[in-house]
Symmetry: C2
Subunit: 255 residues, 2 copies
Amino acid sequence: MPVAPLFRPIDVAPAYQKVADAIEREIVNGRIKPGDPIGTEHDLVRQFGVNRSTIREGIRVLEEGGLIRRDSSRRLHACLPRYSKLASRLSRALVLHEVTFRELYEASMTLEVASIEGAVERATDDNLAELDDNLVRSEAVVGDPARLAECDAEFHVLVAKASQNRVLQLAREPAAQLFYPTTEMIVTGVAEGGPRLVAAHRHLIDAIRYRDREAGVLWTRRHLQDWRRGFEKIASLDRSVEHMYMEHAQAARRR
Amino acid sequence: MPVAPLFRPIDVAPAYQKVADAIEREIVNGRIKPGDPIGTEHDLVRQFGVNRSTIREGIRVLEEGGLIRRDSSRRLHACLPRYSKLASRLSRALVLHEVTFRELYEASMTLEVASIEGAVERATDDNLAELDDNLVRSEAVVGDPARLAECDAEFHVLVAKASQNRVLQLAREPAAQLFYPTTEMIVTGVAEGGPRLVAAHRHLIDAIRYRDREAGVLWTRRHLQDWRRGFEKIASLDRSVEHMYMEHAQAARRR
DNA sequence: TTTTGTCCCTTTGTCCGACAAAGTTAAAGC
DNA sequence: GCTTTAACTTTGTCGGACAAAGGGACAAAA
């Protein structure tokens, strides 16, 4: 028969973890602000009273979590985690879980429709200017599938940004990162793929500009359906998406 | 005046990063499967021909990314990244970006509605059994806000699981993790909060069981609106959500 | 005045060797 | 056969070391 609990579990995390936790706490509760320097490794050695190897392991943890980074001169400072970096962890996880194309498509439909609805409602002139600029660049590379795919990815990021909802922005990113590499394949494989894509973007920008929600949703749906039809030509919907990641990971490494 | 760029930056990743990349590649492309042992640090020292400190820094990177973990005996093995762990990185990021309650609420509305739609369409008997079980446990703790909040969080995870869409499951998680701690406050602060919450869950399970999409969407909306009304009593919608994270992070540490 | 070369100091990335604590394995004892 | 004990292994941490690269200051050159 278990005795009544008298003691709480002791915190027995390894030292490098405690170092990481301590710095994380200072950043999250705002005592260290994004951009603030963290100090040199030697400083941290002195402050925490542990070995430099231990400090360095703690730094790796925070760096991977996107809370701190090294600037050009390799000095440490706090920073706001970048969505795209965090999202790439998630994309990787989705690949490892062998999600199917259907899952990806359905979720993206939901998320992109929500994005456009938000954008129609709340886009600013600045947002529209960015979208217009993207459209011009897209038109210029309509014959170059790789570049066009890049513009397409950026376009949808801009739409999400125009929705003024960062939770949504972040939620759609992992799926979008998996989409992106296949766009290129589809633009290549489908006749009139490029022009159709650019035309859809134009309609979407119009919908945002004139705050026409119906049109926005309609063209988002069409845009994604086009993309799906392109995909169906090269694979089945139940197929998992592992090859998408391979392309994406390579691109990320080149960056 | 800057000259036109002639050379691309050379790839000079530090050794610990290369170690991490190499192991990640083997895991992602499937040569190392989830559960497979990675070998001891000494093994890796031999294989990569670098110092153990370097290996350990690489391990921290992978560990933080959720690709490898140490089992009870601290041996390294590959594993499938856990959504909830990755999502907590994102929650943290959302807090640091100081997202407002409005952003969180809107995105959650979208994601939870999509979840229930998927669940209504595709839930299995197993999913329903899990939901029923959750309901029973919720009813048992309806007077205990902390436990009830825990059950509520689990309930929505189960609904998302029933949608059979892992992309959606993952996309909703970061927002849900921020929701969770406030549920407790709301159940405490709002009269009849607990019973209303359980009643909504009951309706949602019915909707899933009888594949009644309308009812599912309706009750999800109501459920979230209830939650929002509770929140409005204690703060404004434009308020950012930092306090939610503090609670959540503490809970995570206790785990 | 702006660029280039040089010197010095700091910081990072990496290496080596070491050791206590905790876990594992295998032998010894009942 | 089961438990205890005694090696052995592995991890977490430590101390010190060194080369390479960055930053700053300053003088020489264009």
